[in-house]
């Protein structure tokens, strides 16, 4: 024991006696942001990383507006955005590229946050919504109400129900709920496969032209997005992203185990249920606007954690990295030289698959799977 001392003074007295001035030898990983009476802990590295990632997101959206034959040149962009410019330029920006870019940002952020929530709740990087069948369930729900029983319910409601049913099945199948994350992963893969089978069944019942569109959506596609999609995802983000932020402190403590969190005064069961509900809604919203895009929810929180080097779910960082992955992937998908119409989901699945394989190998070696 390095610091062997005699009877330590009572903490309470010492706390009062110690001057609250920050000490120079206290270079915390955590600093504190004070705005009036609001005091929030923040991590300097995390703030810098998030700021850089935000700039990168903006840069890739701008690139999406300016690149290509129909792209608006950078010097003209501001005037076009403020309503001037030619009719063609206006049409390209407002009817095509801006909604597409914004949907990419919103859906990426929603998936990143949803992934952070589920990875935190399951204490396992594999516990993300795309692996445990949530995205598949949402896709099946959307397909059910649009193709199999058209007009039964609006597509977003169908996606939400599908996602909710999928996660309920996973929880029931895993038996002990969130206490056996590895079982959730295995059962989730099964539920996801069943959901996709249902979607394929739905596709077989549709006419050919509709089926092609459906196939693109199923891979996850950002082509032909409109402002309805933009509003859908950003309203979902504003409401449920905020909820995720409010829940993140509780989730952080639940990561230490239920007993430790309960002892600190966290209502673990309530926090977890609320967080899962928020995660389901965010993932379903992303699926509604661009299909079950794979692996963004898996990779974004992991990337965020590594880059910010901080513990805890890190909702903001996960969201920003989700947006970044999505916008960059969509850029690459649009301007790669091999195929004229590569859905972004194919690209994320390709890259994410490699990451998943690496992660599985790692987890296998650690014995956590």
């Amino acid at each position: 024991m390095s610091g062997r001392k005699d009877a330590s003074p009572a903490i309470a007295e010492a706390a009062v006696a110690t001057p609250p001035a920050p000490r120079p030898d206290d270079p915390g990983a955590t600093d504190h942001l004070r705005v009036a009476s609001l005091v929030l802990p923040w991590n300097r590295r995390a703030v810098i990383v998030i700021a850089v990632a935000c700039v990168a997101v903006i840069a890739s959206v701008v690139a999406a507006l300016t690149l290509g034959k129909l792209g608006v040149a950078l010097p003209d962009l501001l005037s076009v955005l403020s309503g001037e410019g030619s009719k063609t330029q206006h049409w390209v920006v407002f009817n095509n590229r801006l909604p597409r870019g914004l949907v990419a940002v919103g859906a990426g952020a929603a998936l990143g946050i949803s992934g952070a929530i589920f990875q935190s709740v399951t204490r396992n990087p594999l516990g993300s919504p795309d692996i445990i069948g949530l995205n598949g369930g949402a896709a099946a729900g959307a397909a059910a109400v649009t193709l199999v029983w058209p007009g039964l319910l609006p597509a977003p409601v169908g996606a939400l129900l599908g996602g909710g049913i999928a996660i309920t099945l996973v929880l029931l199948g895993a038996g002990r709920g969130f206490h056996a994350p590895h079982r959730m992963v295995v059962i989730g893969i099964g539920v996801g496969a069943m959901a996709l089978a249902f979607v394929q069944f739905a596709v077989t019942r549709t006419r050919r032209e509709q089926a092609q569109e459906m196939a693109a959506w199923l891979n996850g596609s950002l082509s032909a997005r409109n402002w309805d999609h933009v509003w859908t995802i950003f309203v979902a983000l504003a409401v449920f992203g905020t909820a995720a932020l409010l829940l993140s402190r509780g989730l952080q403590l639940v990561e230490m185990g239920d007993e430790a969190a309960l002892a600190l005064g966290v209502r673990t069961q309530r926090v977890r249920l609320a967080a899962v509900a928020v995660g389901v809604v965010l993932a379903a919203a992303a699926v509604v606007v661009c299909g079950p895009i794979a692996f963004v929810a898996l990779v974004a929180p992991q990337l965020a954690r590594r880059m910010t080097r901080s513990a805890g779910p890190g909702m903001v960082a996960a969201g920003v990295f989700g947006a970044l992955i999505m916008t960059v992937a969509d850029l690459v998908a649009q301007y790669q030289p091999w195929s004229a119409t590569l859905p972004v989901g194919v690209l994320t699945a390709g890259i994410g698959g490699v990451y998943l394989a690496a992660l599985l190998t790692h987890e296998w070696r650690r014995g956590t799977l």
Partner: protein, 285 residues
């Protein structure tokens, strides 16, 4: 304590404390504790004396950790009541309880990549609100807790990089940062080698000397007898004996509780009772 619901089927009448004794910080009556359908403890009464270092001992599966969980309200009793300073713990706000009572579980999980300072800081949660997530007193409490546990030098290390003994001191620092008068520790020395066990128990003794009431579940009877001021011996979900180490640690009690035949001698170092198991045939040679 005027109208306590009489625990059904609990024959033991509530013990009336001597008028001069300070009120028990934790008092439980008629506890029935169960996991799903499996009842571990039924009809149990217990008082934790104020200012004591109480150690709960007993064979594996006797319900000692279960009892500790109920006292620390991380397990809700199926029947009976737990009172914290005279108020029903279930009627209190969660954070309010956490400001008076800290519990260190048997195997808490250190989140990936967390630093020592951040982990200790999490002990301050009960004092924080959504708008005020950190204050000067939080910083001071974290600093003091790290100093008291000798973990100041580790502040910026990751918990996952630490040795078992260091890690346990960090977890104790976390519950110390909670700044409570009452500390519940569930087998704090398990998985540690003997030097680190002594290390952790010395730390507990210092926290006790500083004025806290400690309740710990321990496996090692001799360490329990050496450090405890009050012992509770359990078997099959019942309290067999409680009192000072000398009262509890008799050869008859040890045989009744653990089924181990032994002699009790005075610890040459501390004068506390020391269990010496009778030699088996092989050992006797």
């Amino acid at each position: 304590m005027t109208s306590r619901p009489a625990p059904a089927g609990a024959p033991t009448p509530a013990a009336v404390p001597a008028p001069s004794a300070p009120p028990a910080p934790v008092r439980a009556r008629g506890l029935r504790l169960a996991y799903d359908q499996r009842t571990v403890v039924d009809g149990l009464d217990v008082d934790i004396p104020a200012g004591s270092f109480t150690v709960i001992v007993g064979p594996n599966g006797c319900g000692k950790s279960t009892l500790l969980r109920a006292l620390g309200r991380t397990l809700t009793p199926k029947a009976g009541t737990v009172e914290l300073y005279g108020r029903a713990i279930t009627a209190m706000n969660n954070k309010e309880v956490a400001r008076r009572l800290a519990l260190l579980p048997q195997s808490p999980i250190a989140p990936e990549a967390i630093t020592v300072r951040d982990l200790v800081g999490r002990g301050r949660y009960p004092y924080q609100t959504l708008l005020r997530q950190w204050s000067a007193s939080d910083g001071a409490a974290v600093r003091e807790a790290m100093e008291a546990t000798g973990t100041t030098d580790l502040a910026d290390r990751r918990v996952s990089e630490l040795s078992g003994g260091q890690r346990q001191r960090v977890w104790i620092a976390m519950v110390l940062a909670q700044d409570t008068d009452l500390l519940l520790l569930d087998e704090p020395t398990t998985f540690l080698d003997i030097a680190h066990q002594v290390d952790v128990l010395e730390l507990c003794a210092r926290m006790h000397e500083a004025g806290r009431t400690l309740v710990a579940v321990l496996h090692d009877l001799n360490f329990a007898a050496r450090y405890a001021t009050h012992m509770i011996a359990m078997r099959d979900g019942k309290i067999v004996e409680s009192g000072t180490p000398h009262e509890v640690m008799t050869a008859e009690n040890v045989e009744e509780i653990f089924g181990l035949r032994c002699r009790i001698i005075d610890d040459p170092e501390s004068g506390t009772p020391l269990v010496v198991p009778l030699a088996g045939r092989v050992a006797r040679g």
